[in-house]
Symmetry: C2
Subunit: 274 residues, 2 copies
C-alpha cells in the first residue's frame, strides 16, 4: 500500500512525502495534529495538514529564529516564545545563558505530542528555566512584560494565528519588551507571499526603530526561501560586531554569516521598499 | 478539469504544480520535453518530468551559476557552457564584457523550445558573441581549450549527464581551461544527496588547487538548498576583494554577499570533510 501525505503549500502547489508509518493523529480543540514517518525527511509534525517540522530539517528554522535575535541582543535574561509548542525554539534558546523562558502555546496537545513523539525537539521543555503557559499569546502579551527577546514562532497567518500578524499585536509586543528588547517573527516566503511580507515589514517599522528581515532556506516550507522579520527597540542589528558573538554548537547558523543574513537579495529589497 | 504536473524529486518526495495550460510536449532524441503554464510559478520547462526552470525563480539559478565564477575570475574573455540549452546562463554571462561564449548543448530541441516558448530566458542565444554546438559536452572538452571559465549547466547525474559528474571529466575540463581558469558545476542538494556532493568535492579537489562550494535557494529544485562546486586553477576565490566587483543588474546575486556565499553552514562543512 502506497501512502502519501500531501500539503497544499498554496492552492496551486503541493509537496508530498511518502509515508512509512502514521504514528499519531488527533483533532485538538484548535487543529488537526498528525505525526508520521517519511522515507526522506524523517518524522513529521503537521498541524491542519501543514508541515510544522521534519526531523531532517527542523534545525534550520529553530536555529535561525532563536540565535539571530538572542545574539543581536547579546545579554538576554528573560525570553518569551509565542507558539513553538514543539519545543525546538526553546531547545535552541537554552544554548544561551538565559535565566527564564516563558513559552505561550495555545494548544497544550501540541506540547504533549512533541514530548511523546519528538524527544530530540522537545528536550528543553522540562528545563527548570522554562515556564509553560497554555494560553492565547495575543492576550498574554497585553498582561506581561519585562522581556529582552520575544519570538513569534507561529503557524501561518490563517486561523488562530491571524492576530499574531497584526499591527496592534506588534505594538503590544513592543510594550512587553525591555528598553533594549528585540522581537522576531517567522514571516513566510517572498517567492509566493510578497504582499504579506511587505505589510508585516511596514507594520513592524511603524512601531520599532529598527526593522530588519533575514532569511534561511527551509526545504519543507512553501517557497523554501523563508524570512524572519526582526524589530528592535534600541540595538541596531547591522552594527553588531562579529567578534562579540560567542561560539554556539549549530548545524545551519554560522557566526561568520551573522551580518550577511541581513543582506537581502535585490528582489526582496524591492518587495519591502516598493 | 484539474490538471497537475508532479515531479518525483526523489522516489519519496513529489512537488506538484497546478497546470493552467499545456503549451508543448515532444520526445526528442534524448529526453521528453514539456512546457506548461502554472498558476504560481509561471511557465515551466521540464525534461523527463524534471523541472529545469520556471519563469518565477530561474533568475536565482542562472545568476548564481554565472556571476560567481565570472566575478571570481575577473577578466574572462572566453567562456564555455556545457548544457544550458535554455539560454538562461548565457543571458547572465552576457552581462560581463566577455568576447566569446561557446554553448555546447547535446539536444538542439531544448534550444529550439526555449527560443520559441521562453524568449526572456533564451534572449542571449542570438548574440553574435555566442557560438552554439549541438554536441556531447564530454567529447567537446577533449578537443577544445583556451577557456577562462567553464560552466557545467547540466541536468541531474542520471542518463546523458552522468559523465559530467565524473573525475575524468573534471580532468578534461582542467586541461581545457587557461592557467587562471575556473570551472563551476551545479551539484545538487546536501539535504538529500550528501554522498554525491562529497564525491564531487573529493574528485574536483583531486584536480583543482582550489575547490569551493557555494549555495543558493532554488524553490523548485529538490531540497531547495542548492549547491554549486567551483574548481579554480590559480585564483583563490576566498581572497577575492569585494571592492573589485563591478555592479551588475541582478535580482538574487548581491555583491555584498560575494564572499559570504562561500561560507557553508556547519552541516554542509561536515558533509564535505567527513
Amino acid at each position: 500500500m502506497e501512502l502519501w501525505f500531501s500539503e497544499y503549500q498554496t492552492k496551486n502547489v503541493k509537496l508530498s512525502f511518502r509515508v512509512t508509518d502514521v504514528i499519531y493523529t488527533k483533532q485538538s480543540e484548535y487543529q488537526y495534529i498528525s505525526v508520521f514517518d517519511t522515507e526522506d525527511f524523517g518524522r513529521v509534525l503537521a498541524l491542519d495538514d501543514t508541515v510544522m517540522l521534519t526531523t531532517k530539517d527542523e534545525f534550520i528554522y529553530h536555529e535561525m529564529i532563536s540565535h539571530i535575535p538572542l545574539l543581536t541582543h547579546g545579554n538576554a535574561a528573560k525570553v518569551l516564545v509565542i507558539g513553538g509548542g514543539d519545543g525546538g525554539t526553546v531547545r535552541e534558546i537554552l544554548k544561551h545563558p538565559v535565566k527564564e523562558i516563558n513559552l505561550v502555546e495555545i494548544d497544550h496537545e501540541v506540547i504533549e505530542t512533541s514530548k511523546k513523539y519528538f524527544p530530540a525537539v522537545s528536550c528543553g521543555l522540562s528545563d527548570p528555566r522554562v515556564k509553560i503557559f497554555c494560553e492565547d499569546g495575543i492576550e498574554f502579551v497585553k498582561k506581561h512584560s519585562g522581556y529582552d527577546v520575544i519570538i513569534i514562532d507561529s503557524t501561518d497567518p490563517i486561523g488562530p494565528a491571524v492576530g499574531l500578524f497584526s499591527s496592534q499585536f506588534y505594538k503590544n509586543v513592543f510594550e512587553a519588551l525591555n528598553d533594549d528588547g528585540i522581537m522576531v517573527a517567522q514571516t513566510e516566503t517572498p517567492i509566493l507571499f510578497g504582499d504579506l511580507i511587505k505589510r508585516i515589514y511596514t507594520d513592524m517599522s511603524a512601531t520599532f526603530p529598527y526593522t530588519n528581515l533575514y532569511s534561511a532556506v527551509i526545504p519543507t516550507y512553501p517557497g523554501a526561501f523563508w524570512t524572519f522579520t526582526m524589530g528592535s527597540k534600541s540595538i541596531n542589528p547591522i552594527s553588531q560586531e562579529i567578534s562579540d558573538i560567542p561560539f554556539l554548537e549549530t548545524k545551519y547558523y554560522s557566526r561568520e554569516l551573522h551580518k550577511s543574513y541581513f543582506v537581502l537579495p535585490p528582489f526582496v529589497k524591492d518587495i519591502i521598499s516598493k
